[in-house]
């Protein structure tokens, strides 16, 4: 099934600069409908308000008050949201982190710093070719 290039993508990071970088990289990949949140709580609100109308969440891990892994657990526990692919983009590179994310239901995991090719390949593995 072809990837809907018009789908909504939610990017979550407490560094505004990082949000801007990811937004620009996504735009270069052809995704224009990008929304932003600066922590898990704000992201969860946006996801719930949309009724699950997001095609992908790309989230940082280390944020306050709600971290990326907590957001992921909330998403996976919500019937309306649990289908949304979730990619963690984080500087946390310990095996324990990756295992915890996998156990929480992460779709893929990108370690910062990352490049556009990595972002694209992980998105392809989650969404299919585009």
């Amino acid at each position: 099934m072809a990837v809907d290039m018009n789908m909504n993508v939610l990017i979550v990071d407490d560094y505004k600069t990082m949000l801007r970088i990811i937004r620009n990289l996504l735009r270069q990949l052809g995704f224009e409908n990008v929304d932003e949140a600066t922590d898990g709580t704000q992201a969860l609100e946006k996801l719930k308000e949309s009724g699950g109308d997001f095609g992908l969440v790309i989230s940082d891990w280390n944020m306050e008050p709600m971290t990326g892994i907590e957001l992921l657990r909330h998403v996976r526990a919500d019937d309306k949201l649990k289908h949304i692919p979730f990619i963690m983009v984080t500087a946390e590179s310990k095996s324990e982190n990756v295992i915890a994310a996998k156990e929480a239901g992460v779709s893929n995991y990108i370690v910062k710093p990352f490049n556009a090719d990595t972002l694209k390949s992980k998105m392809v593995s989650v969404l299919g070719d585009f």
Binding site: D13, Y15, K16, T17, M18, R20, I21, N24, L25, Q28, N62, A91, K112, P113, F114, N115, A116
Partner: protein
């Protein structure tokens, strides 16, 4: 007199506990907790020390103390000397200066790094977005090359996030050191380590500035002079 009566009554209580504190008492009452038994041991030890002290006192005329009291006295002296030495060492590192001057200054410098790199990154991205804005106006080959170049620039800009996180860790470590210094000062008494300002012996203000004094690196925020202020200063020599 009521108070005195009360004091006597209170004093009698531990005595009774101590009496009941031996192994026999513990055996007699298996419901007693481990803590109670430990307290009993301590009380028994205290009684033994007291007994030794009484013996030593009775032998004061011969100017010889009991071996156990002598040992305890020596240990206490060594402990006091150790505490004094520790205090002297702590005073030498001037904990108030570390806490009030060096640590905040280091944190400010680190915050300034994060701010400066964030500003620079945003400026770089502003320029990239401007380039992307006109990409459609050039031929395909050039457009592709420019897109590749801007992508590489965006990728490189992720350094700011990593730098910020690493610096955040260092700031946290500094905060931890500050908390420990606070705890140390409270333990030994804050007043003890306060810098003593002796006006009579105060170091005279330096009148000459050495080259070394001039090397402070970039100034922070409001301490920094603007180019306009520098220009004004230079002009004041004319």
């Amino acid at each position: 007199m009521a108070g005195r009566k009360s004091k006597t009554a209170t004093a009698a209580k531990p005595k009774r506990q101590a009496k009941a504190g031996g192994k026999t008492a513990a055996k007699a009452n298996p419901a007693r907790s481990k803590n109670d038994r430990a307290i009993d041991h301590v009380v028994a030890a205290a009684k033994s020390i007291k007994k030794s002290a009484v013996k030593a006192k009775s032998k004061q005329s011969t100017a010889s103390q009991s071996p156990s009291m002598g040992g305890i006295h020596d240990e206490l002296e060594r402990l006091a000397a150790y505490i004094d030495a520790a205090k002297a060492e702590i005073a030498a590192i001037r904990p108030h200066d570390v806490k009030e001057e060096y640590l905040p200054s280091a944190s400010d410098e680190l915050d300034a790094i994060v701010e400066a790199t964030a500003d620079a990154t945003n400026t770089i991205m502003d320029s990239c977005e401007m380039v992307e804005g006109v990409i459609g106006q050039v031929e395909a080959e050039v457009s592709n090359a420019l897109t590749d170049a801007t992508t590489r620039i965006y990728e490189a800009c992720t350094f700011q996030d990593i730098t910020g996180q690493r610096i955040g860790k260092v700031v946290k470590a500094l905060k931890n050191i500050e908390d420990r210094i606070d705890a140390l000062l409270q333990t030994f008494g804050d007043e003890e380590f306060k810098p003593k300002r002796n006006k009579a012996k105060a170091t005279p203000k330096k009148t000459t500035v050495t080259d070394e004094d001039l090397l402070e690196g970039p100034q922070l925020g409001d301490k920094a002079k603007s180019q306009a202020e520098i220009d004004d200063l230079l002009a004041s020599f004319d």
